[in-house]
Point group: C2
Chain length 228, copies 2
DNA sequence: GCAAAAGTGTTTGATATACACCCATGC
DNA sequence: GCATGGGTGTATATCAAACACTTTTGC
């Protein structure tokens, strides 16, 4: 069994890709999870949609590589970027003839306003995360895995703010939770939960112009390790 | 900034390493977390202790590579093996002259009886996980990271059984928790906690030969995805 | 006033913890 | 009997969920 080393002369290529999530209003006006994808311009899977990514540069760190390819292909600057998983099955590139690629995949979150600034053209497009077409490689599974991580991390960390701009109402924050988790939350209990964690503080301002009682505006508290 | 690609001709080497944990009785007779390390026989860090690992074979999956190098160097067959993290900082190999290595690190758990079968010689040795010497590369940080993951995973999964043989008493299972978490647990509450999760079932047997009331023997319930 | 969402209070049930106490064995 | 851990019962604190209710705006 140990002779697997013998064939290791042709070392696998190393690439870094990123799953990006933003919350965008859908046709009903509700927030919905969206992810930008890029069209492949080369075999294998030429013409199909795929995660943005590329080969790892010799003098860049893994996270830097993710941030760079993300900026180059989509124009986005994420507010949160974290390693997701390394995918390296021998057969994931599809055909036997294709070169073997090990992908270290990151996941990123961008605020709604930043998402609007993204490049969009024939080869870069936003998709709803739960209505993806058949993607290149094993990228459908990778997005699903990232979705699970996002939902999980939302519950024990403060990443939800990252989807919003600097100040926000608790209703907006709750909308983020509801969109990501896919279920409604009790406004009263949600308020208490957020207040108990101490992740937000009042700005002193209120949001005017609604046709109801004006809600308080909040900002994320600045603690060391903000997006952990 | 995008010209980082220009220098990517010399692609980084890809290696797979593994952090292995077992529980072994220490001088006091208490279980303590131990990890086997191998001595490096090449620069950089020649002579220093390091995680077992090696280059990824062209035709093996990432987890297979981890299992293989682990078996080759230590003789161990782990009952649990999971990807930990990919480490790829440009400067992690130490010297500027050293070749760049990206390591995909796995972590593994072995049962106590399996741990005794491990190879031990001048170049392979067990260390207590909380009393490690200065290791090669960034391997000290990697072990710490793995320790955190183990402690975390112990609380929401059923991996604790993996340290024990097929049948065990609840006191033995509690000892595992206490050794990993580093604090004592109330026997009564622990029993209820385990019973509530439904991860164990009675064998019907009892363990004789103790100098007190003979405790019931349990085994792990066999569910799909046993070690998740 | 009415609609609508903001924001508060209260009740209930589930769960974690502390700790008292009985049980069954070896010696 | 006595020591020792096995095993059970119970009171208390903490927290999440459900939901009723009051407040403040626009119209």
């Amino acid at each position: 069994m140990s002779n697997a080393l013998a064939s290791s002369i042709e070392t696998p290529t190393l690439a870094v890709s990123t799953v990006i999530f933003a919350l965008r209003p859908n046709a009903d006006g509700c927030l919905q999870l969206a992810t930008p994808l890029v069209r492949r311009i080369r075999a294998p899977f030429e013409g199909q949609w795929a995660l943005p990514g590329g080969p790892l540069g010799a003098d860049e760190d893994l996270a830097s590589s993710a941030a760079r390819t993300l900026r180059d292909t989509t124009g986005l600057e994420p507010r949160f970027l974290e390693q997701l998983y390394a995918f390296g099955s021998v057969d994931r590139a599809g055909g036997k003839l294709a070169e073997r690629v090990v992908s270290i995949v990151y996941w990123a979150l961008v605020a709604a306003d930043e998402a609007d600034r993204a490049i969009q053209n024939d080869n870069v497009r936003w998709f709803w995360a739960d209505e993806l077409p058949a993607l290149a490689f094993d990228h459908n599974q990778i997005v699903d895995y990232a979705l699970g991580r996002l939902r999980n991390k939302l519950e024990y960390s403060r990443i939800a703010h990252v989807f919003l701009s600097e100040t926000f109402t608790l209703a907006m924050l709750r909308e983020v939770y509801e969109a990501v988790l896919g279920r409604e939350l009790d406004p009263g209990n949600f308020r208490r939960m957020v207040e108990a964690t101490g992740t937000v503080e009042e700005t002193g301002e209120r949001l005017a112009g609604t046709r109801h009682r004006p809600p308080k505006l909040y900002r994320a508290t600045t603690t060391a390790g903000e997006t952990k």
